[in-house]
Symmetry: C2
């Protein structure tokens, strides 16, 4: 298998997402990138949950942080530093799952991991090894899936294309651009800054610059204008969830960009490892509402009056008819055919 | 005629936009609002042009600042402090017109004002009085037009409506909300922050709060989501230009919001005193491209890498088929009928 790390920028290299060092969990602090490459130290489970809540990491990061937090708990139980108790892991799982309610990839991985750990406790097995085995297999599968999706993504990008994205579409997208460039295609990428957290300005644009891509930063309000100027041929983003009938939730703004793409005849291709097969329709997706204070501030500084009313839905939902095809490890799949293609995994 | 000042927030009261004091031009500094109510002092014509370029004032402000700058020049000529020379006024006009190329309201007002001043110089008349007379008549007509547009705007807002706006739609819009509230209608207004200059966060939301309206600040990426939740029944903005065949330029983002409104069946009503009758079609509008550094920073602080490539088109253009009707002093006019309704003014 192709080694993907060589294509990836610093923040996406696996050991820079989450790792255990000196009995603590270190999380690559994406809030400080690209200005600093530092790690946020979590001493315990609560610290890890808070790191996810505070968006120290985001996108594809939380699932790795959450699983590694469970592994740390398992290591401590095996070392006799804490109880080897199924309830403790169940509570830990629930605490982590509450940290980002829209992130069902994390929720589902934790369900399986904690079920295995709990079974291991019952059988008197080494749960640290169980956790480590599960996480290594997950990581291996994650990277293989990212590579397969990136091969599909790269194949959809034509020489001379302008590609619009939103927020931070992580490994699959960055790798798609890297592979398309390796194929000799001239590409321009447009990265909206993604208020209020600036993931586009802080993560996507610097990551693309780091791998040598021609990337241009814009504000979130310029997407349709760029499309109207003929600068954009493809629109590609990650998704946090896609339901089995093709409703895709991602960072707020993804939906209005998809509407603008559709208006301009530009295809929208979201990346998804697989659908959340247990969910059907828009109403099955819980939209996380974050602290409205974040909308009123940039790096802590107010942009409006202190007493202003604000609202911060963190995600929005794209309906299947605005999706040209879902980039999955199984190839490009119609949003109307996800259930048939992925149904056997239920 | 109804006195409109009592309905208006601080920044929109006429004497707080531009006035002459102690042989200098004072411009209400909208960059500091709502945190400070201060005035930017321009010592000469160049200072006034720079104030407009630096967005000390914006939207409907530049036309008043530019005309007042011409009046200051005329006053100085009459006082013998500078030459009473037509070329000087012609150069001043051109300098001011270059300061915001998309703002044709300012350009057209300056053309008429400077033509009158030049004629006055030829005839040996008092050009300070000529300038003052023109400006007073302009202001009176401006306020009457704003009131008529606001009456139309208020009549389009129904009890219980949610109204989306963009950037800072100035007197006509704020007054529409004030009049609708006076009519006893319960209204919610949603104000996107309007990156990179935050006119929504700094001007629109605080102005609406100041007049007691129920306003909620969102980011520019949340517009379509709010619409999808059924919270928005009307979309209303100012325009910087509307051509005689109904192409409307306004702050970048206005276009993608109009696409999202159309997608959700929400009517878009821009405010315009009159069309720019000399312009036809999208290509007749010059889109000002501002310094891309502004996209990379918030209050001077970088949001991305220093060496990042960025792009800053300041406006975008809404096609007539996305406009439900133009709110004008002559009532609600179809974007396809502007030429018939306003043609006699050519």
């Amino acid at each position: 298998m192709k080694q993907i790390d060589k294509y990836l920028p610093f923040v996406l290299q696996h050991e820079n997402i989450a790792r255990i060092e000196d009995d603590a969990l270190l999380v690559g602090d994406r809030r400080l990138y690209p200005f600093k490459k530092e790690f946020y130290r979590c001493e315990d489970l609560e610290g890890a949950a808070e790191a996810i809540e505070k968006m120290v990491t985001q996108g594809g990061g939380p699932v790795h942080v959450a699983m590694t937090a469970i592994k740390l708990l398992a290591a401590r139980a095996e070392a006799g530093k804490s109880a080897k108790d199924a309830d403790l892991f169940e509570q830990a799982k629930q605490r982590l799952q509450r940290s980002r309610p829209t992130n069902t990839t994390m929720a589902r991985a934790l369900d399986v991991l904690v079920a295995r750990v709990t079974a291991g406790i019952e059988k008197g097995q080494n749960i640290e090894q169980i956790a480590e085995g599960f996480i290594n297999a997950f990581k291996e599968e994650y990277q293989q899936n990212a590579l397969r999706m990136a091969e599909v993504g790269a194949s959809l990008i034509a020489d001379g294309d302008g590609v619009m994205t939103m927020c931070f579409a992580e490994t699959s997208f960055i790798l798609s651009i890297a592979l398309a460039m390796e194929q000799g295609k001239q590409i321009k990428v447009y990265s909206p800054e993604t208020r209020p957290y600036f993931q586009g300005a802080r993560l996507t644009a610097p990551c693309l610059q780091e791998i040598g891509a021609d990337v241009t930063l814009i504000t979130d309000s310029m997407v349709a204008y760029m499309m109207s100027q003929g600068k954009v041929q493809k629109y590609m983003t990650a998704v946090d969830i896609i339901t089995r009938d093709g409703w895709a939730a991602n960072k707020v703004g993804t939906f209005q960009n998809a509407i603008a793409a559709n208006y301009h005849g530009i295809p929208y291709f979201p990346f998804a490892i697989d659908p959340d097969i247990g969910r059907v329709g828009r109403d099955s997706i819980v939209i996380e509402e974050r602290d409205p204070e974040e909308v009123k501030r940039v790096k802590g500084e107010l942009t409006t009056r202190e007493d202003m009313q604000a609202y911060y839905p963190a995600f929005d939902i794209v309906p299947p008819h605005l999706i040209a095809g879902v980039i999955t490890p199984k190839g490009l799949v119609s949003p109307y055919q996800l259930e048939q293609v992925f149904g056997e995994r239920v």
